[in-house]
Symmetry: C2
Subunit: 666 residues, 2 copies
């Protein structure tokens, strides 16, 4: 094995001479011909990289933080005119993909567009109800926003419009401020204000490239939140489904159930129940998995049931029997609503608060959908650009009587399965909605609310992702706690609280992760020079007189003190054991630094304190394989001089070779 | 080299068979005798550790988070009675160290105690002034709290009493609520309320073992904050030093300087200036570095100057010439003050707010001091137990007319240099203060405020740590930004704002760290099987058709998406380069997982998406050396089945051996 080691030395030496961040990388296909090897038996240290200059360092950080996706890459060395064109294309991706748009693509988009249209119209009516808004506002939100997105958005598969969760959020949060029945007008105004600020929030996040902020809502907590929201929404539908007149304003399961059973003996309307339940059964039936090419069955089922039930009610005049109906939907396209938005008074603050929350949730949903499908078709999606698109879309929406719109899970899936190619499918959809608004809205007069209720229920059941929950349980218990926390928070308390729980657990996890990194005791794998965690490789053995500890994280102020004390605890434990077994005491502590990718001043201090404490115990501190940045800083802080130049090695094997040569492979 | 590799294989095999978290660790002194080696030429995979059970996992997390210092360790297998005793000893460490207390120790403590007493008495008067409180409250705070701490605290070197920064905080924050001159009584009451809640905060943090929270205030920002506070405090002293009557209430440098110069032509009092400046010069002179055994010179200088100047003023009656004097200090020990604390009304909220801030700052300072000296003498310091002690101390203090007390940098240093052994030095000090209160307070009548001002100035200059700032600049530029942010925030705006800046920059840094981990492109060090960052080792060469990327962080929801996209960007860049050089395209992407110490559900998803995107590009995903936890979860999530069992290796070298054997060392 001496050969291998002397090679290592060579490396060390070469590194010593040649290292420093330069990137003259050559791919060398004739590596194995580099013969013969030198055979001397000495160990060299890790190379010291050349000093990074402040500006470069700073710029690198900023770049990785805000421009990690290199949005300006295409602009590199281009003419001014070209840059302008590219800029426009970046803002309006349609300019790019429209060029090579063709008939085959259009066929796909047309089918997809019609399908999602048939799905969205009934859903819009239901979701609008969920948000305590008149039906037409739901339809409005499926007309203007999709058009705007088609021009600015970069996802090809997302289907834009009102969605269940956001509608619920608006419905509950705005109702806490204004009564939707008593003063419907103010309610609408506040909703539009919230929508406006939701758009502003999204636009701002995107513009300042703060997109990564939504990554702080962990997948687990989103799954939990969505599931909880779905249940809450379904519960809300009992009102329509059972034809209950007086229903609680609260959304938690307890008070909903109470008001359901309180209404039992007088409030339920059997005709309503009959219609609602039968159609719900029909809708759920169509959802049962079938061949992929039958995707359109569940997609158009809602529209069919609306038509059938409406016709049925019309001829039987069941509404006279107490079957609640939509009764009135305003005809015509979106009226301008700029004058309705509050820009003064404390309604602005309320609107802002609600808008920020709704905007963030809408964003999370849209980005999640966008990424999923972008992954499936392997095209890049710039999160920040998406946010700008969604933001603009909602701002314009708020000026045209729409409430917060975003990407819908269910409809996007249908859109994808129906074989859409571009955002044109959204344009088709919004055109269909346009026609609906212009021509056939009056026909919805006799649509029973029960149908809308059953449509919503059949739509939201898909949001409860048991598979994901099971997987989370299997993979990460802490994640599962976050997931369930959000879930039960929403179901038993309220949507906002559930959201709060989700966010705070996510953050708690981050703090935990940065305060309490792992450390591992390393052992030597028999007959090798590989050192691994002795818990993972029980056959790894320790070398007498030497303790090898790996620190599994960058050392920052948030964990430096913990790491120091944890290492000292390893040492203490070990020393106790050795005393019991009356084995030779520890002489060297080798800290394997490979995973320590960065260190700050607090970290350096911690190392210094560690060094001093070890001195008191007559143990020598040795570092193995510190990375570029760490070497940088260890040198800058003169820590090297403190522990002695001879104490930093390219690898644990090298260190062992120096301090316990007879334990190295011959 | 084939030998080495076949060894690796052996490992692989053994790991495969034997691995799984068990801890039968044997230290094997006869390692080198394990001969001979098998010579076959195959590669085996990483072993799968046995499943961790939920409870164990959860308990481990909780333990590392809240009980990482194993406070209950001594209680392990002890009798009930012994446990009780140990419990008392844990609460009152004095019970432990008092046993082996002896005369030599006492000698040290006596000298140290007297020294810090002589230093603290004048400082107390000054700091009380800084907090807009009558002088006696300063002395009170050096009498009761040190006694309490002596019984409960576990640091042997810390000197307890009022400190500059906290006094400034109280002074400014309470003054924003109540006018200290117009209604001095309410001012005192609010201060005591704040002190009470400061104590409660500290006690709570300690009791619930949330001590690690103060680690979130980074060293850098503390240095900056302290420096800024020192300057602000010094500026405040112009009032006393120049004998200015009308002085601004603001603390920022601009408004202070303005009111200094506005007062220039009439407000300055030359006698005051004469006394103040001359003694300041004297005090600063004594601070010039001397032999270590002359530590007492700067320590007693303040007391001397107080005595001399007081006597001087007394005989010359300079106070008639407009030299402001202390004039009145109440005689006798601390009066009870429980009835003065607000427990109702909105003063409670105010007091609470101020208390929390002051309490945290006091805590940070005390713990920092405690750790420093504990490190120097190598004894463990339980942060949480310290907090309980400090909390109790301040609560009792608030009931006996003391304001927030904590460990003082300057006095603790003197205490240490004077050769203290235990907290007895604190007891000595408080006894001296007791005598002072009982007998000689009236003598302070003629002490000129100018002296107190110059004493404070000479005390706080030590808080401006230029060395540390320079070091921070050298080591970590981002830390330096945090440091300067806090510094200028305090100097130019206000103490609270400076603090806010410090905290937020610290947090921003954490978020940055968890969202944007580093990744590195690895190359093969010539004539070895070691793979290292090609930026650190420019002589490392890549293997044609294979891309090796190391991910330098655990993969969590906060960074999973970034890591995925970053890796894909590496691939894209590489493919472009290869195309230009018309070299063979990438067939395998090896992800070196050594630093990836943990992964959550979002992380697994990211890996799956990465795998899919790579499939589209006809690149095979390979993992090298995933740790215990990661192996666990990769198996739990069936990700192994997805990428194929044959795609996880013990080391990069093994992977290369499999996919590009001719590039391995022969």
């Amino acid at each position: 094995m001496s050969k291998r080691i002397s090679d290592d030395d060579e490396v060390g030496k070469e590194a010593d001479i040649r290292s420093g961040p330069s990137s003259n990388r050559q791919v060398n296909p004739t590596l194995q011909q580099e013969q013969p090897y030198p055979h001397q038996h000495q160990v060299h240290k890790v190379g010291v990289p050349a000093k990074q200059n402040l500006f470069k360092e700073f710029r690198a950080t900023v770049k990785e933080t805000f421009f990690s996706d290199e949005p300006l890459r295409p602009f590199k060395d281009q003419t001014k005119r070209r840059k302008l064109v590219l800029g426009f294309e970046a803002l309006f991706p349609i300019l790019r993909w429209a060029r090579d748009y063709n008939l085959t693509k259009f066929r796909g988009d047309l089918i997809a567009g019609l399908t999602i249209a048939s799905l969205c119209i009934p859903q819009d009516l239901g979701y609008a109800k969920l948000a305590n808004l008149p039906g037409q506002n739901g339809l409005y939100s499926s007309f203007v926003p999709p058009l705007v997105y088609a021009f600015m958005g970069s996802s090809r598969d997302i289907a834009i419009g009102p969605v269940a969760v956001v509608s619920l959020l608006i419905g509950t949060m705005v109702r806490d401020e204004v009564d939707p029945i008593k003063n419907a007008h103010d309610y609408l105004r506040l909703t539009l204000t919230a929508t406006f600020f939701a758009g502003v929030t999204q636009l701002t996040l995107g513009f300042f490239r703060l997109g990564f902020l939504i990554d702080f809502l962990s997948h687990a907590s989103i799954v939990g939140f969505m599931g909880g929201a779905a249940i809450t929404i379904a519960l809300q539908q009992f009102k329509g489904l059972l034809g209950i007149k007086t229903f609680t304003k609260k959304t938690d399961i307890v008070s909903v159930m109470r008001s359901v059973f309180n209404a039992a003996h007088h409030g339920w309307n059997w005709q309503t129940i009959l219609i609602g339940v039968s159609f719900l059964a029909f809708l759920l039936l169509t959802k049962v998995k079938k061949k992929k090419k039958l995707f359109w069955v569940p997609a158009i089922a809602p529209l069919i049931s609306v038509i059938v039930s409406t016709f049925f009610v019309y001829i039987t005049r069941a509404d006279k029997e107490g079957v609640a109906i939509v009764s009135k939907i305003r005809k015509g396209i979106n009226p301008a609503s700029a004058d309705l938005i509050y820009f003064t008074g404390d309604n602005v603050i309320k609107g802002f608060r609600i808008g920020v929350v709704a905007g963030m949730i809408a964003l999370t949903e849209a980005i999640a959908i966008g990424r999923t499908f972008a992954g499936m078709k392997d095209y890049q999606l710039d999160g920040n650009k998406e946010m700008v698109a969604l933001g603009t879309m909602n701002i314009i929406g708020s000026l045209t009587s729409c409430y917060v719109a975003t990407g819908s899970f269910s409809r996007s899936a249908v859109n994808y399965m129906a074989g859409c190619h571009t955002a044109v499918s959204n344009i088709i959809m919004s055109l269909v909605v346009l026609l609906t608004l212009e021509l056939i809205t009056p026909l919805f007069k006799y649509t029973p609310n029960a149908i809308l209720a059953s449509i919503i229920i059949s739509a939201v059941v898909g949001l409860i992702d048991f598979e994901a929950m099971k997987l989370i349980w299997k993979i990460d218990k802490l994640d599962f706690v976050a997931c369930m926390g959000a879930f039960f928070g929403v179901v038993f308390i309220s949507v906002e609280i559930g959201l709060l729980i989700a966010v705070s657990i996510s953050f708690a996890k981050i703090l935990l992760q940065v305060t309490r990194p792992r450390t591992a005791l390393l052992g030597k794998l028999p007959r090798t020079n590989v050192y691994r965690n002795i818990l993972q490789y029980p056959n790894a053995t320790q070398i007498p007189g030497i303790l090898i500890i790996r620190v599994d994280s960058a050392i920052y102020f948030s964990n430096s003190n913990y790491i120091k004390e944890r290492i000292l605890r390893w040492v203490t434990d070990e020393e106790e054991q050795l005393k019991q077994k009356s084995l030779p005491k520890i002489e060297y502590l080798i800290v394997e630094m490979s995973p320590v990718t960065d260190i700050d001043t607090s970290g350096i201090h911690a190392l210094e304190e560690l060094y001093r404490s070890l001195q008191k115990r007559e143990i020598e501190l040795v570092l193995a394989n510190p990375g570029t940045v760490v070497m940088d800083k260890i040198h800058a802080s003169e820590f090297v001089e403190l522990i002695g130049k001879g104490k930093i090695f390219l690898s644990v094997a090298d260190a062992i070779l120096t301090f316990a040569p007879h334990h190295e492979e011959p």
